[in-house]
Amino acid sequence: MENTLRQKAKDLLASGEVKVVIGWGWNRTKTRTTPVFITDPAEVDQLVWNPLCVNNLSVYLTRKFKDIQALGKPAIVAKGCDIKNIVVLITEAQLKREDVHIIGVACEGVVYKQELWQGQLKPEIMPTKCHNCDVRNPHVADFVVGGKSTFTPPDEPAGMVFSKIKELDSKSSSERWAFWINEFSRCIKCYACRQVCSLCYCERCITEKNMPQWIETSAHPRGNLSWNLIRAMHLVGRCTFCGECERACPVNIPLNLVNQKMIMVVKDSFDFKSGYDEKVHPPMIVFSPDDKESFIK
């Protein structure tokens, strides 16, 4: 698979069709993968594809990354779940479909965090998203690397995130409140969750608007709660459950629970799931005359 990937990257760069290939490569000691930006066809051997390729590289397609944009048209190596974010970026007019070459990779899952890797991909080190994945064969791509995956996701979503949501849903609202206040109390306001998210592409986040200061920047209970609520609300109907925020959070706040719960609410209320079709707009930004809610009419 890696050979096909490298060959494709080489062809794209050599023909001038793209100017940079955004992919994964090894770190110096070959123990972890790290994003690489290949501009020279002679360097395509740096590209790798394996279960350590956790990063959702679509963040590098957003407008914050001016240095990368300055290189010219990109090709991006992407798993199905990463492609969902690219789809949202296209839907939200951050990117035109023709402005990016998507090299999809057929996928059998990745590790939840790279440090869990011990040479073998076992179900217990995979994130919940992989156990329920319906895009192991990339759904939007210009080229696909790898043989078809035959995996079919379970009818009832399964895995840690879903079990925990069920558990929390069965609790009283005050117990749920206590759970989240405790989780958010650890937040150190580093904003890694925001920076790693390709859908948090605002150049000036509301936390940085300080005249007036809408969201207190202090990492005290009020500031932490308001930050985590605003992050969640701004991703309703948009988040694809790629899990990057939870992976990046240095203090292990279970952000995947928040994200998946929002996805379930949007699915129930609007029968919508983000990241599948760039032509369908998310419910939060469209108005339909036959909306079942009447308050807006």
């Binding site: 770190n27 110096r28 000691t29 123990t31 972890r32 993968t33 790290t34 994003p35 690489v36 930006f37 990063n55 963040v59 590098y60 914050k64 990354f65 001016k66 240095d67 990368i68 790279q114 440090e115 989780e183 650890r186 150190i188 306001k189 580093c190 904003y191 890694a192 925001r194 920076q195 790693v196 940085e208 300080n210 200061q213 207190e216 920047t217 202090s218 990492a219 005290h220 500031g223 990057e244 992976r247 990046a248 240095p250 203090v251 292990n252 706040i253």
Partner: protein, 336 residues
Amino acid sequence: MADKILKKEDLAKLIASVTGKGGRFVAPTTAARQIVFKKVSKAEEIAPDYILARNSFKEFLFPQTEVIAEFTVCKDTVDMRGVEVEAPETVVFGARPCEAASLAGMRALFTWDFVDEFFTKRDDNTVVITVGCTKGDEACFCTSVNLSPESTEGADVYMRETEDGGYAVQALTDKGKKFVAAHAAVFSEGSAKARALFMPEKVPGVDLKKISERLKDKSHYDNPVWKKLAMKCIGCGACTFVCPTCRCFDITDEGTAFEGERRKNWDSCQYDSFTLHASGHNPREHQPQRWRNRFMCKFNFYPEKFNSKGCVGCGRCIRVCPVRLDITDVMQEFSK
């Protein structure tokens, strides 16, 4: 040379002795599936087997957020009131030799052109007990910045784990000696065989002198190598928040229109707003420039200005970085 022994079963007594006198005992403990420095009250809470905590103990000297003044807006004036520095007697137990070495730089900065009592008063009331590492991981690189698990820089008391689960104790500073004397009943005389220390391998080719020379020559500012190394940085700032030597802060006012508090909050040079001027101009507009600043701060500003270490090789930044940007790669590059 160890002066005393702290028997395994006497650690609980030490905690009781410290907390009994009203002090707080801070040690690495497990919380939310991580090792973190926290206030503990029992010996069982201390993680038995850890490499190092996710946070450094700096937050007990320089909290993430703290009130430094309160204000009320009156008709023609603003009434500004100072607040008392909260500086409880604190014992940091189980710090690693790398992070303790960060104290010199912290002290230099917070007493440089202004004595920041919010730091100094806490520092005065804190005893740092380091325990030499018997375990490490591939991110550890203290030996590449002239430190090792045997280093005692910044420690008031240095301990080595012994084969029988206790500690060989060496009081180093006056503060450390006073501490051991004040809790004399807890420590024993004698000797015990110390466990072998873990020595991280040196990062191949790293030469601190060379790095420092190259950074002094400002022509590296526009070197395309910064882009090559740091273009993948997403500017999350996690590296700076977990770093024991990073101590940049922001001052912010919070409250209603008429009264509130002024706070000192951790800030990070990795944020685009860090250097954003009111005019809209940003001297460090691109992420690689911000990364250059971080590296300069550690390997040029601190060594040159304060004759202290800007990086102590703890590897925390490498462990938390979501894109695995490894500072030792940059050290290698600038050793060429």
